[in-house]
Amino acid sequence: MAELYHLGIPTSAVPRFAVLLDPLLPSDPVVTAIKGKPLASRREYVSHSGGWNGHEVLVITVGIGAPPLAIAVEELTRSGIRAFVLLGTGAFNDDVRSPWLLPHGAARSDGTSAQYAPLQFPALPDPVLRARLASATGGAASYGVVETVDVLEGCPMSPGLAAARDLRCAALFVAAAARGVHAAALLVDPNGDEAVDGVVRHQVVGDMAVAAYRSLTSIEIGESRAHD
C-alpha cells in the first residue's frame, strides 16, 4: 500500500479537506469534533480522519516551524487535499483584543516561503476560505498581518507592522498558492487570555476546530481561483 513519504498516511485515505494542527494546541477537541480515528503516526506527523456534515476531513499535527508544514502541504496536496485550515499559535501584539487572529496576509521573514517564490510574491490566504472562517468564528476574530519567522525567541517584534508573529503562515500561504490549493489560518496566543499556563483551553480549541470544519466544508473547491 502506497504511503506518503514523510507523513506515513496511506494515499488512498486522503480526503479533500485538512486541518493542520499546531502541536502546541491540545489535539483532543479537534479530533473529537469529527469523531476522528487514528490514521498514521510518523515522525512529528500524527494524523486522524473523521467526518463533518457528511464530508471526510483529515487532521494532522505538523511539528514546529515552516519546513515540516510545507512538507505536509505538499504531500497532502499530491494525494487529493484541496483546502487547508491551519489552527495555529502566535505571539500577539498587546493591541490585539480578540481571542483569535485571522491573518489576511503574512510578512515573509521565514526561509521556507523564499524557496517557493521571490519575496515580492505576497503571502495571502485564500480570500473565500478566510471569509468563511471569519463567519464561522461569529466575528470574534481580529484581522491582521502576521509576521512569519523561523526563530521566535529573542527576536523583537517589528513595531506597528504586524499584529502577531508565528512560525508557519507565510509558508502555508505561498506553498498553497504555488500548488493551486486553498489555505487560511486561525491563530490563538498561548500566552493570552485563552490559555492557562501556556496551554490553550480545550473549549477555545474546540471552537477553533468547529470554525475550521465549517469553513472548509462550505467552500466550492476552486471558487476563488481567479484564473479558473
Partner: protein, 261 residues
C-alpha cells in the same frame, strides 16, 4: 509551533528549569547528545545503549538517556527543519549538553554517492532562514574540528571494516523539501556540495555561537542526481543499515573524544 515567544517570557534564555518545548530539565541528561530528525529513530540509538530510559516525549522531541562504554549519552530527535532543530539545541544546551552529533538522513548531490553511504560534513551552505536570525550569511556554519576529525576517522575505520563507502565534505541545509527545483539542485551540485539535508545549518551555527561542539554524520537516503530512493527501513534496507552505522560511528567518536578529555 511555538510559542517560543511565550517561552521567552516564561523561561528566559539561560533558564535552568524544565525546558518549554522538550520537557527535559537539567540533571536528567548527559553532556553528549545524538540527534536524529525522526523521533522514531531515537529507538535505534536507545537499542545500542545500556539501561536506556525515556526522559520525555513532547511534540517531535523524544529524549532517551543511557550509557555507552560508561559514557552517558542522550538521544533526542530534532523534528524536521532548522526551526525545531534550533529549539532542540538551545534547550538541550540549557540542560547541560555540550556535544551535539546529528545522526541524520540526507540526499546526495553528487552522482558517485550511493544510497547507504555515510557522509561526514565539514561545513554547511546556509540556505535556511533560522541561522539567519542568529548571524548574517557571511558567518560560516562549521562543525567542531576535533569532533569532525573523530567522526571522520571512525567512519573511515567502519567503512573499511564493513565494506561501506564514506564521504567527507560540505552540505547544504534547505527549508523546503519539495521546492528544490532542478536548477537550484544543479547549482548546488556544481558548487561541489555533497548532500542536502534540513538541520545542520542551524545546529552548527548555534553551537558555534554558544561555544559548544557540534558535528554530523548522515546515511544517504537517495541521490537527487541519479534518482531518489524510498525512505524507511522496509523500503530501503541500505538506508536503515547506514542509520545503524552512523549511530555506531557517532557513539564511538564521542567516546574517544570524551576519553581523551
Amino acid at each position: 509551533m511555538t510559542s517560543g515567544s511565550s517561552a521567552s517570557s516564561d523561561a528566559p534564555k539561560g533558564s535552568l528549569g524544565r525546558q518549554y518545548h522538550i520537557k527535559v530539565a537539567p540533571g536528567e541528561i548527559g553532556g553528549v547528545a545524538l540527534m536524529p530528525g525522526d523521533p522514531f529513530r531515537v529507538q535505534l540509538i536507545a537499542d545500542k545503549l545500556q539501561d536506556p530510559v525515556e526522559v520525555a516525549h513532547a511534540r517531535e522531541y523524544r529524549t532517551v538517556v543511557g550509557s555507552y562504554k560508561g559514557m552517558q549519552v542522550t538521544a533526542m530527535s530534532t523534528g524536521i527543519g532548522c526551526p525545531s532543530a534550533a529549539i532542540a539545541v538551545e534547550e538541550l544546551a540549557r540542560c547541560g549538553v555540550h556535544t551535539f552529533i546529528r545522526v541524520g538522513s540526507t540526499a546526495a548531490l553528487q552522482a558517485e554517492i550511493e544510497v547507504g553511504d555515510l557522509v561526514v560534513n565539514t561545513g554547511t551552505f546556509r540556505n535556511d532562514g533560522t541561522s539567519l536570525a542568529y548571524a548574517p550569511l557571511g558567518y560560516p556554519a562549521v562543525p567542531d574540528t576535533e569532533l569532525t576529525t573523530a567522526l571522520t576517522l571512525v567512519a573511515r575505520e567502519t567503512a573499511q571494516s564493513l565494506g561501506v563507502r564514506m564521504h567527507v565534505g560540505i552540505n547544504v541545509s534547505d527549508d523546503a523539501f519539495y521546492a528544490e527545483g532542478p536548477e537550484w539542485l544543479g547549482r548546488m551540485t556544481a558548487l561541489g556540495l555533497l548532500n542536502v539535508e534540513m538541520e545542520s545549518s542551524a545546529v552548527f551555527t548555534i553551537a558555534r555561537l554558544r561555544g559548544l561542539r557540534a558535528g554530523m554524520i548522515c546515511g544517504v537516503s537517495g541521490n537527487l542526481v541519479t534518482g531518489a530512493a524510498e525512505y524507511g527501513a522496509e523500503e530501503n534496507p541500505r538506508l536503515a543499515t547506514s542509520w545503524e552505522h552512523s549511530i555506531d560511528v557517532a557513539l564511538e567518536a564521542a567516546h574517544r573524544l570524551e576519553s581523551a578529555a
